[in-house]
């Protein structure tokens, strides 16, 4: 009985953790390309979910069309955000940029509230909601969707960053922006790319989680912070450490909520965040040198 319960909490923790990982990687990609924490990242998660809802209900699109549509529109919002709010800054200091992303996040959330109202909305699961039994625990088909899509995105990400020239150029920007410019990399274009990738990933995360948790104009705040927490655990890497960070966070949160009290669910994430910041600010797996420029 106890074991089944723990298995159950772990399984659902892993799928929430996968979502946190996706959002966290979005944070890391922008951080590595620009040196800023994009606090509007959570809003793309919210936009993904709510835009899918609109595509389904207002445009009557089938799900397979609604999802790419929602991702595309969220990405356009990401591009506009970079173009209108980030790029025009002449002398961008990190603190200015961070505050701008917070402002952008409040703006996007406010507009979303006007468009979709304050109610929570649901999106139907991708393939029914007949539970699947695994050992003594059960998971929903949506959990499998989440795991599969997360895995695919992480693999594509890996291939992009390590096996394409464009991806290598983007990594080069994060290591040494000045040298990157000198070998002909258009750093500002790479910054735009980073916003494109991150907003698309955020939107996907928001879409695949929406059938489980419901969605509303303000889900981005909490999901964004959890994703940020995952990225911090992972030392702001856009690779596997952030994925592990997300999974650790998801599982601990789920176990804590199940075994202690669900009231502490969000507190657990922030306790972990604080502990990491105090003890290992370079992330759980990072080396102590912080050489990122």
């Amino acid at each position: 009985m106890q074991f089944d319960q723990i298995l159950q909490y772990t399984l659902s923790g892993i799928s929430t953790g996968a979502i946190y990982a996706l959002i966290g990687i979005g944070f890391s990609i922008i951080y590595n390309a620009t040196g800023i924490i994009n606090f509007a990242q959570g809003e793309f998660v919210m936009l993904g979910g709510l835009l899918t809802l609109s595509c389904l209900e207002l445009l009557n699109l089938p799900l397979w069309a609604a999802v790419p549509c929602a991702v595309a529109v969220s990405t356009v919002v990401g591009v506009l955000f970079e173009r209108l709010a980030i790029r025009p800054l002449r002398q961008p200091t990190p603190i200015n940029l961070v505050i701008i992303t917070i402002g952008g996040s409040i703006l996007i959330r406010g507009l979303a509230m006007l468009v979709w109202g304050k109610d929570t909305h649901t999106i139907p699961p991708f393939s029914g909601d007949t539970p699947i039994a695994i050992g003594g625990a059960t998971i929903l088909p949506q959990h499998l969707w989440i795991l599969a899509i997360t895995l695919i995105i992480i693999v594509i990400n890996k291939i992009y960053f390590y096996h394409t020239i464009s991806g290598k150029a983007m990594r080069a920007c994060s290591y040494n922006r000045r040298a990157a410019g000198l070998v002909g990399i258009d750093v500002r274009r790479m910054v735009l790319f980073s916003f494109i990738i991150s907003s698309a990933m955020g939107a996907v995360a928001g879409i695949i989680v929406a059938p489980l948790t419901m969605t509303a104009y303000d889900v981005g705040v909490m999901l964004g912070l959890k994703g940020f927490c995952a990225a911090i655990i992972g030392g702001m890497s856009s690779g596997i450490s952030t994925v592990i960070g997300g999974l650790i966070l998801g599982v601990l949160e789920s176990l804590g909520a199940g075994l202690i009290s669900s009231g502490y669910k969000d507190a657990i994430a922030f306790i972990i965040l604080l502990l990491i910041m105090f003890i290992r600010p370079q992330g759980l797996f990072g080396k102590a040198d912080s050489e990122r420029v």
């Binding site: 291939i159 992009y160 096996h163 394409t164 020239i165 464009s166 991806g167 290598k168 150029a169 990594r171 080069a172 290591y175 040494n176 000045r178 040298a179 990157a180 410019g181 000198l182 070998v183 002909g184 990399i185 258009d186 750093v187 790319f193 494109i196 990738i197 050489e291």
Partner: protein, 251 residues
């Protein structure tokens, strides 16, 4: 090839460069020398678009490139290396050079997303091209090492390999021999001559007089932000003004 006219740079109240003009002929190795504080590095930073000068213009192959950012200059085939080598520390040696070839890759983000296999085959082509430059600079045995782990001398060679991978017609080197031992300096001078033999114009700022006198076709001497003298190594060595600037005036 490169025409510098009337470059003036004023930092606050200090005139770092005062109407400096000279031109660099295609295929030459030109040395820019001068005592410390003469404005050599400032001049380099202006030419390569890192600083914006107070006045004056820079023309590259007849085109006015004044104030162009470094990445545009790189696309126009002008690159530079740094006195304190600037590498992508956590990437491998080979990847560093591959990034240098980035401008020659046609696959942007969309192309990557849409035709991944094609993009990967292009990556293979670029990998081979990058290997060629590592061989040229003699560090291909280090291809898989992390750039940050290289000893200083090898790092310098890597920086040169990466600059060459951009496909430059002119390359500016800021104190390429700084921090190198005499053997490495000798190898460097041979390398620079081989780069020139590829048809690449070279401009270097350098303190190592032996190196400068050995490899340079022409030398420009700066002192206190002004051009003091310009000529062949022999003319420079025999010039009383230059000797006075370096050794102090007898008067």
């Amino acid at each position: 090839m490169l025409e510098i006219s009337g470059i003036t740079q004023i930092f606050g109240g200090v005139t770092a460069l005062d109407t400096v003009s000279f031109s660099i002929a295609k295929g030459d190795i030109t040395g820019v020398i001068g005592p410390n504080g003469a404005g050599k590095t400032t001049l380099f930073n202006i030419i390569t678009g890192i600083y914006r000068q107070t006045a004056g213009t820079v023309q590259l192959e007849g085109k006015d490139v004044t104030g162009f950012p470094p990445e545009r200059l790189a696309r126009l085939a002008m690159v530079r290396t740094f006195q304190n080598i600037e590498l992508f520390g956590t990437m491998t040696v080979l990847e560093n050079v591959m990034v240098g070839m980035h401008t020659k890759s046609s696959s942007g983000l969309l192309a990557c997303a849409l035709k991944m296999p094609w993009s990967i085959s292009e990556e293979r082509r670029i990998r081979e091209g990058a290997m060629k430059w590592l061989e040229f600079t003699g560090i291909c045995d280090l291809a898989d090492h992390t750039a940050g782990s290289l000893p200083f001398g090898k790092g310098r060679l890597l920086e040169i390999a990466r600059a060459l991978a951009v496909g430059p017609r002119i390359i500016l080197m800021d104190e390429p021999a700084a921090g190198l031992n005499s053997q490495e300096t000798l190898a460097l001078s041979l390398l620079i001559k081989r780069i020139r033999d590829l048809g690449i114009t070279i401009v270097l700022v350098e303190h190592d007089m032996e190196l400068v006198m050995d490899i340079c076709d022409r030398i420009v001497v700066l002192n206190l932000g002004r051009k003091l003298k310009e000529g062949t190594p022999r003319e420079i060595q025999e010039s009383p003004e230059v000797i006075a600037a370096y050794l102090g005036d007898d008067d």
